[in-house]
Amino acid sequence: MVSFILRRLLMMVPLLFAASIIVFIIIRIGPTDPALAYLRLSQIPPTDEALAAARDFLGLNKPMVTQYLEWIGRAVRLDFGLSYVNGRPVLDEILYYLPATLSLAGVSLLITVTVSLPLGVLSALYKDRAFDQAVRAIVFFGVSMPNFWFGFLLVAIFSVTLGWLPPMGRGTLAHLIMPASALALMSTCINIRLVRASVLENMNNRSVLYARARGLKEKTVIGIHVLKNSLIPVVTVIGMHLGELLGGAVVVESIFSWPGVGRFAVSSIYNRDYPVMQCFILFMVIIFVLVNLLVDICYAWLDPRIRFSRSDK
């Protein structure tokens, strides 16, 4: 198990470096000159001398490879530079906004799991009955609904019409309900489908037939032979959901004025605050990759076949 984790960690390193190269390339092919953005945000008139000085100061005159190596060298030491807008260290800014986003994404993930597991399992057990059909219809609507529109519908119903929930901001649990639901909608619906399919697949398994033939109680058959096996694959998609949640958070934070890193990133995009944008995307990649690693580890731990088949190679 330890060697499995170590190997996966080692595999992560080159991937992260390659991702950072892509980020670097995207920034360089952009049409805007970072030096110009820097001057504008520092409120310095963009004269030729100022531009030359800024290019020199930001290291834009050095060869590309040197620029990249210097940037990544500092990033590895957790130095992401200073924000063009307020001159504060970018890392501090991101870390300031990150907890709000993580709590939002975390609660959404919790909603996804707690709602989708029972609904998916029940839907499979009552296949083609009224309950299953209702769940499938809701799921079908859910995956087609833009999360920002769903968010506004929630606001229109629960804030504007009923006045039950605060329409924006952060603070109490009541503030969290609508953003987290809007964010969780898509992954919950996708997950219900996966759980349902997985349970149905396992119910056709031979071991279930034998268990029934052995005269085991239906409860035992479903509980031990079906559910335990069918929930393992569901673990693997949590990482995928997180990608959806991180992207969705940007939109949902904008609707509900949620003071998270997504809203901060969007405002830094409007401002063309390059250091913040770079730091944001690297953070998202690192969170995404780490959670997927964690998921893989859980999966290997739950299902010995994975652990052993790959560690022999």
Partner: protein, 272 residues
């Protein structure tokens, strides 16, 4: 099954209606979608303005129709790009094998480390908003999935008897790829793309909603929702219609994708 067919026909009808609205937008729409009339702003639905007007007095119904044009064109361009990239790179990797395959697949792995919407947001943030850049950003964030699937498909076909026979008969490599591998791979891929159309539409409208996609005053549905957000307290219906259009369109494409896939699945099972 009968019920499913009815729903399928309904979905098909909605998609056809939206595509024809897109094509014939100037003929159908009663008003110019960008005609500003501040005296008529936020007027309720009526005879002249079927669904009322927005905060600048523009006719919502006409903007929805022109919005179909923008959405259909954008997604069509994205799908074409993704298919071209995915097919090109996936077939190259699958057919060439060896170091080319390994290198291309590692490149795909790198793209898998990004949450797709976040990467698209970042790209548009750097390249600037606008239809062209949205198309590029979303295509670039999705091609890797297609390339990997194409590669897998190519590998399953590569050693089939008829391919081996063609090779033994001395058929050239390019001819084998174009004549014998491309057609079956392509049909599978089109089905996958159909299932992805809805997802891509949501990305486009999400970016536009944030002000980083298709830019105002272009009548795009996500832009319309973003424009209407301030009036949710006074005139919530303004926000309802464009969302409804996205919802209906995405749902119809999803439904068609599902049905087509199920057809194929059951067909595949019948073969074995």
């Amino acid at each position: 099954m009968v019920r499913n067919r009815k729903i399928f026909v309904l979905a098909l009808a909605i998609v056809m209606a939206i595509v024809s609205a897109a094509v014939f937008a100037p003929l159908i729409s009663p008003h110019d979608p960008n005609e500003v009339n501040l005296e008529m702003k936020l007027s309720p639905p009526g005879f002249d303005h079927l669904l009322g007007t927005d905060h600048l007095g523009r006719d919502i119904f006409s903007r929805l129709i022109y919005g179909a044009r923008v959405s259909v064109a954008t997604v069509a361009a994205i799908i074409l790009l993704v298919l071209a990239f995915g097919l090109g790179i996936g077939m190259l990797a699958g057919y060439a094998g060896g170091i080319v395959d390994a290198a291309l697949m590692r490149l795909c792995d790198v793209f898998f480390t990004f949450p797709t919407f976040v990467l698209a947001l970042f790209m548009v943030g750097i390249l600037g908003a606008g239809m062209g850049n949205v198309i590029i950003a979303i295509a670039l964030t999705h091609w890797a999935w297609y390339a990997r699937i194409v590669r897998g498909l190519v590998l399953t076909f590569k050693y089939r008897d008829y391919i081996l026979a063609a090779r033994a008969a001395g058929t050239g490599r390019i001819k084998i790829v174009v004549r014998h591998i491309l057609p079956p791979v392509f049909s599978q891929l089109v089905i996958l793309a159909t299932m992805d159309i809805g997802h891509m539409m949501l990305h486009v409208s999400g970016l536009s909603f944030l002000g980083l996609g298709i830019t105002p005053p272009t009548p795009e549905w996500g832009v319309m929702i973003s424009d209407a957000r301030e009036y949710i307290w006074t005139q919530p219906s303004v926000i309802l219609w464009p969302g409804m259009m996205i919802f209906l369109t995405v749902m119809s494409f999803n439904l068609i994708g599902d049905v087509v896939r199920d057809r194929l699945d059951s067909k595949g099972k019948g073969d074995t």
